[in-house]
Symmetry: C2
Subunit: 387 residues, 2 copies
């Protein structure tokens, strides 16, 4: 095993076991096993919403249930969608209850759930376009207050603002959030969103998130921190439709954020198992295809690169989570980016990640003998254990 | 004339002329003429230092004097070099007196002088490498205090910090300033330099300056402003060795900085009159040639593009200065970037800029008749006039 993984992800434990009469449980054989990771192994899983709301029937329902089983077998975290255009297509009619059902399912299955995102120019509500900037700001902060409050204890982790680097200069189409950000500037915009989320749920874990991994992003983070904005986690997207970054670039990106000494999540990790998107495409959304097949060679490549990518990130002391995007083929951009094929079968990458997350990086049940003081010693990954 | 130039650079003046006895100078013919622009038309001119220190002899001296005449004929501003490695090659022995002679020459010729730069990782003092970061910070701020103070009233405009976007991640070679910036972060570094310069000369005009015109720079400026750093001017380099930006890119770059509503200087403007540097070169310093000739076609192109570039910038309400870089061929990178050829003759670009700066944008002597109240009315460019 990579020595940095050993150093940064494992610890030596001494546990003293007591009998109910208060004396040490000496010289007894006990079984210790890991039940969860502290590290977040997550996936985007928007189809938990229709599944948990009875919207699938017949074979579709069965497939969705099988996918859900594959989520719980590998992952301990789920990102649920809060795209405003879909969450509240008509002003005043949010789909709160539907999303709550999905979040409750996650909680019942011991999955930590993150809401994504609270503020973003893409997929924001169309009806903001009828408002003045002052009204947009009011609506956006009211939305944050409402949703962070409504979901408290179900969802206490949020991508508060998404893609702020491009937000004020986004020029694909007019939208209320870009208008507002252009007026306020990025830092005042971010500050308003974080302060609203923090006030509403002071113990929530709040992320800034971006796909831009140039200096622009770490300079923005620095500007926000100097302006007193408190991030809990820096979120980095890594949609690698154009090819795996490789270890070197991944480490270089991480290096740009190390100086902040804040936890880092790789919030949106994509590796396709089909042909790669052409490198000259700047906005991935410009690549629209009706068919983007998964291939055997592509699946081997995806598996190999997923292993390397997860090993690189798991070894880094500041990284605390990786989210796969999407779970199944045919999600965003219709890409073969899933760990599961369209027919519901798993790809090699799913198997390889399971070997890591629940194998190499997992303490399987082991029999240990307590000493005369009732102590056992073992070395394990940060997480939950039962004894 | 471009209507924006008319709107942003000209004003209507009503002037009342009085006789020494306190009555209006009615119905008299007077001559009004412009003597200077408020707008800064500048040039880099490091060879003013050897010239004003008697280091040229014979034909070299004559050539340098002719170049100096060409400076005063076209420009009203000069950028003098303060590269630390050259300004103080041995710790404690700065060439202050030499540079003062050049600055004094500029003052005598009614040229505004700017010092460039006070803090930069490139061409910084080698002897910083023997110091701890705390000592480097102390030496760097002491340098600023000393030079800003020594040159007060001769030089009251400074590029305080140069290329802060790349400063902490500059990896061409180890240097003290990159080390310090990596530790402090960009914003704390910039703050320290600006506060020192401001404290030393509160009325000086202080610039931040960068070649990076991506979002990283305007996001850095925003972060600095939110952190309370006071810039007087935002400096933008435009070394176009790889080809003229064109009007569209120039306006797009300007647009990124408009929201700050601060004056903008184009601090280092290069257009070559020879072949263009290949577009795939990222760091211009990587292009090292012994010969880079000026050509007749190149000179026509340079002249045409210089006209367009200056017109674009002169029309923009926030731009208050443009500095050409370098005055003569064979300066930085040995490029044919001059307005003057190596043999001392002027290129078409020099003539065309003169036609603008001292022609189309200049009020030549005009005879006006005062009315019965002693008033004359005229329309002119912001600047100085005599009557």
């Amino acid at each position: 095993m990579n020595s940095d993984i050993k150093k940064n992800r494992m610890t030596d434990v001494t546990l003293t076991l007591w009998k109910s009469d208060g004396t040490p449980l000496a010289n007894q054989q006990v079984t210790v096993e890991q039940t969860n990771h502290d590290f977040l192994f997550g996936t985007a899983a928007s189809d938990l919403i229709p599944l948990t709301n009875g919207e699938y029937i017949g074979g579709e329902k069965e497939s969705a249930e099988q996918r859900a089983e594959k989520i719980t077998a590998l992952f301990n975290a789920v990102t649920l969608p809060f795209y405003w255009a879909r969450f509240e297509p008509q002003k005043g009619n949010p789909i709160t209850e539907k999303v709550k059902n999905a979040a409750r399912w996650c909680l019942d299955h011991k999955m930590l759930t993150k809401g994504h995102p609270l503020c973003w120019h893409t997929l924001t509500a169309d009806w903001l376009l009828d408002m003045s900037n002052a009204e947009i700001l009011q609506a956006q902060t009211a939305r944050i207050k409402r949703d962070v409050s409504d979901f408290r204890d179900l969802i206490d982790m949020w991508d508060v603002i998404n893609e702020a680097v491009i937000m004020p200069v986004f020029d694909k189409y007019d939208n209320g959030i870009t208008r507002l950000c252009k007026e306020l500037g990025r830092i005042k915009m971010i500050k308003a969103m974080f302060e609203t989320a923090r006030d509403t749920n002071p113990t929530a874990t709040l992320l800034i998130n971006d796909f831009d991994v140039s200096s622009a992003y770490d300079i923005l983070v620095e500007g926000c921190l100097e302006a007193g904005i408190l991030f809990d986690v820096i979120g980095i997207q890594s949609h690698m439709h154009q090819g795996w970054w490789g270890v070197e670039k991944t480490l270089r990106v991480l290096e740009n954020f190390e100086r902040f000494n804040l936890p880092i999540h790789f919030t949106e990790t994509t590796l396709v198992s089909g042909h790669l998107m052409s490198p000259e495409i700047v906005d991935l959304n410009d690549y629209q295809v009706t068919d983007w097949p998964t291939t055997p060679e592509g699946e081997e490549r995806q598996a190999e690169q997923a292993i390397q990518h997860y090993k690189t990130l798991f070894a880094h002391p500041l990284v605390e989570g990786i989210t796969w995007w999407d779970l199944s083929d045919g999600g965003w951009l219709n890409a073969p980016a899933g760990l599961i094929r369209k027919d519901g079968s798993i790809k090699p990458a799913y198997e390889e990640l399971t070997k890591l997350v629940k194998g190499e990086w997992w303490v399987t049940p082991m029999k240990l003998l307590t000493n005369s003081n009732g102590e056992i010693h073992f070395s394990g990954f940060f997480g939950q254990y039962k004894c």
